[in-house]
Amino acid sequence: MAATLYEKLWHSHVLHQDAAGESLLYIDRHLVNEVTSPQAFEGLRAAGRSAWDPASIIATADHSTPTEHWERGIEDSLARRQVEALDSNIRQSGALAYFPFRSADQGIVHVVGPELGATQPGMTIVCGDSHTSTHGAFAALAFGIGTSDVEHVLATQTLAMFKSRSMAIRVEGQLPKGVYAKDLALAIIAKIGTAGATGHVIEFLGSTVRQLSMEARMTLCNMAIEAGARAGLVAVDQVTIDYLKGRRFSPQGPQWEAAVAYWKTLHTDESAAFDRTVAMDARSLRPMVTWGTSPEMVVNLGGRVPDPLSEADPIRREGMARALRYMDLNPGTPMSEVNIDKVFIGSCTNARIEDLRVVAHIVRGRKIASNVTQALIVPGSGSVKRQAEAEGLDGVFLDAGFEWREPGCSMCLGMNADRLEAGERCASTSNRNFEGRQGMGGRSHLLSPAMAAVAALTGRLTDRLESVT
């Protein structure tokens, strides 16, 4: 029978189903970080249990670790205690791989897993982090879970859950020059809303998606959670297979051929039906930016701050008005007149080598604007950092006036010292512009790495690369 990619992944992992439809789903890969796991390990110990399959675990410290002065260790005592708890828990449980603080391959777990080949098509992948949806770019069923479910996976190697509905987002056409997967993701969220895909797993299909690199597909799937989706998916094709070949945890030798044969079945069958379908035209897209405090509050960078009075629904209207007060913006203001204080280039959305190359290309030989008080570039992992340095990108960034940091989640959520102060406005390549997300009272404008680079050079939100030449 014809099946969607999601149905194939779901049914191949269900090992038990009760009368109400609640299923036990086998979990192949468990990514563990320092923030959402200590209470789970504690619960496991208290119940006298141990990890069911330690070889399913990839662990690293990413959320609360500093991104500078690593020689000093972790000066924040609470963060240090959390990272030490992870060290001790993983030492006890065992893991396929652990990248502790300051180790060569430490980084954001959603960057590290794929680059090591530990994220593979056909797997179920979970992590106590909502941006686990990133790994869906490899046709893996990947989603974020809470700490109780982290404990459940540690204890049983399964999750108890109901099947989601399916949504196809079909994108056709060539992305215009200067428009990236991040812009596509923001445009999708603008179209369907932050609850648009609640209860659904999204599969991204169409010629545009097929043309995207794995890095760009990860950016797209990463933001699926911002549309409310349980997970995002992209089918396997030659791009996926080429990316995985030869990576540290990728299948080797005769296993490789067997794996590839299986991976090639991981696509939606021609006549399979989705519960919902959304169509997008890539050719009409422009660089996008958020103006408010929800990822659905998006306009073209060349556009203007919208007017709440144009919104008919009173609750939504008040939400827009509240967002404008928080962001200190007035309706009708051109986005290109909005000055910024800081720039953050990083996060599991946009801190891969491809992102950094785009930024370097734009800022090479130029200087950041004098009104920009801090411009951070935080690579997604140790491996990304080494690659960037091998290509000389670090010198380009430093010459332009950027700070070149150690890997981690950093200012995406401001759990370490990298954060916005009250009233500061930031052009950010991260994924959430919620009130206080990047620091209490801070104001975030989400955009692509290219447009963050341009904003750093002009000191304001700017929709055209040409405006910096």
Binding site: H16, L24, Q82
Partner: protein, 211 residues
């Protein structure tokens, strides 16, 4: 998990869409490695006028008079009424832990974000959805009558109030777990033999996934 009993009491109102988990429990409190201590920091950046840090005594901090839930009439209310997409964003379970410790036992909304909803139910915090017109009516009634109370009956899956009786839908297995206070892990481990059998055959068919 404590078995869920029926809940009677006034509604607290948070008349907004898209309340995210960063707002429910800001990130600085996620450095705790405990499951408790989050209640005084629920909605910290909206609730207080000063900046909050983990471990501080919140009893003397200046409250923000403009934050809805600080109104005296909502203190001790066990049921929160809110709008669409409550709990969106981060998967942090610290958010439901904070809400439970704050004193909420049930949340009524138009819709919830998927991960947040699952996290609440794992902790015995009942999250239930009603249609928008019904939510509108509840907001109107509760705004007009201070102390407007509801009776949430999980056994019957009803919300009773002076507006009448409303039915809500919850998966039967979820309802049963809540009513009995059953933990998921214990239930799942009853199927340990099935898990092992699945794993054995998966190792044979797709050995590369296990190395």
């Amino acid at each position: 998990m404590t078995p869920f009993a029926s809940i009677q009491g006034p509604l607290a109102l948070l008349d907004r869409n898209n309340v995210d988990t960063d707002a429910i429990l800001p990130k600085q409190f996620m450095k705790s490695i405990n499951r408790s201590g989050f209640g005084p920091h629920a909605f910290d950046e909206w609730r207080y006028l000063d900046a909050g840090e983990l471990g501080m005594d919140c009893s003397k901090r200046p409250l923000n008079p403009d934050f809805e839930l600080n109104q005296p009439r909502f203190q001790q209310a066990p049921v929160l009424l809110t709008r669409a997409n409550f709990g969106c964003g981060s998967s942090r379970e610290h958010a439901p832990w904070a809400l439970l410790e704050y004193g909420f036992k049930a949340i009524i909304a138009e819709s919830f974000a998927d991960i947040f909803r699952a996290n609440c139910l794992k902790n015995g915090l009942l999250v239930l959805t009603l249609d928008k017109p019904v939510i509108d009516q509840l907001f109107s009634a509760a705004k007009a009558q201070p102390g407007f109370a509801v009776d949430v009956d999980l056994q019957a899956c009803t919300v009773r109030s002076s507006l009448g009786m409303l039915d809500f839908v919850l998966e039967s297995s979820t309802r049963e777990k809540l009513l009995n206070g059953w933990g998921d892990i214990e239930l799942t481990l009853k199927h340990a033999a099935k898990i092992r059998a699945y794993e054995t055959s998966r190792r044979q068919e797709k050995p590369w996934m296990f190395s």
